[in-house]
Symmetry: C2
Subunit: 141 residues, 2 copies
DNA sequence: ATTAGTGCAAAAACTTTGCAATAGC
DNA sequence: GCTATTGCAAAGTTTTTGCACTAAT
């Protein structure tokens, strides 16, 4: 996706298309490793030397609210985001908190949002797997 | 549930049944508001004046690994736990992070764990709702 | 021209750690 | 008695805030 297309998406989401924003949106969509704010900050350090960490935090927060990226904090408590395109599910290790991407077609999430109580507007429904990963499984002694 | 029954559960989970642990497990199972470590600490302040916050953190971590309580951090980044008995789903507001309990029968999660990659042992599968709550919905001007 | 967004530094919030004392098993 | 757990204080991380400046619309 070109920079101007990203800029268009930002404007469509009601956000100003600034240089830092385009760069951060792009970095998040490229990075499929559920990066933290600091990960993104470092990833952009060379190309955007003046970018500050607080801008990354503020920008990610704006993106989450606008629905451009998905917030994940189940892992290690830190803010983690997922901006990769096709929606997918996550498995989270109960022991170490590692996040694994799961094919959404393994367990198709209910597509039709049911009636939820309390005036909740459903934007998306996902399936979440509570797992113990291979590393944390006590293997043969 | 009596204190000795809780103690038995702790031992069954491979944890020593200490006073603080029984109290914390009990507090978490009673509190249906997805409490933070500090919430529990304050809740037990009167009955257990000597309890320290670091013990709460350590204990909750042990409970999560043992599967006695469920870890939630999607909310505000802080550690939040859910120890209420019947498994249920959560809706999380994209704007403010508020957590709402959702009846699991609205959208029964796939019960049969499919084949997952990388030796993941599935412990539980849940449905997660990405929502905007009533408070955050821009109402009529 | 207005208003949102940026960057810096400082502050705040949350969580972990080290260690001596204690309580379970 | 041995070992895991506790409590305290201190340190470490992560995130937020205030404010002057800059850039987008």
């Amino acid at each position: 996706m070109t920079a101007s297309e990203q800029a268009e998406r930002l404007r469509a989401a009601g956000l100003k298309a600034t240089g830092p924003r385009v760069a951060i949106l792009d970095a998040v969509e490229r990075n499929c490793k559920h990066p933290s704010a600091e990960d993104i900050y470092h990833e952009l350090a060379e190309s955007h030397p003046s970018l500050s960490l607080s801008t990354v935090y503020g920008t990610l927060s704006a993106f989450v609210k606008a629905g451009l990226v998905r917030k994940l904090s189940e892992f290690d408590g830190r803010l983690r985001v997922d901006g990769t395109k096709p929606p997918h599910d996550h498995a989270i290790c109960r022991m170490c908190g590692a996040i694994f991407d799961i094919e959404p077609n393994l367990n198709p999430a209910p597509a039709a949002p049911p009636e939820l109580p309390g005036g909740l507007a459903v934007l998306e429904i996902r399936v979440e797997y509570d797992v113990v990963c291979a590393t944390c499984t006590p293997t043969s002694i």
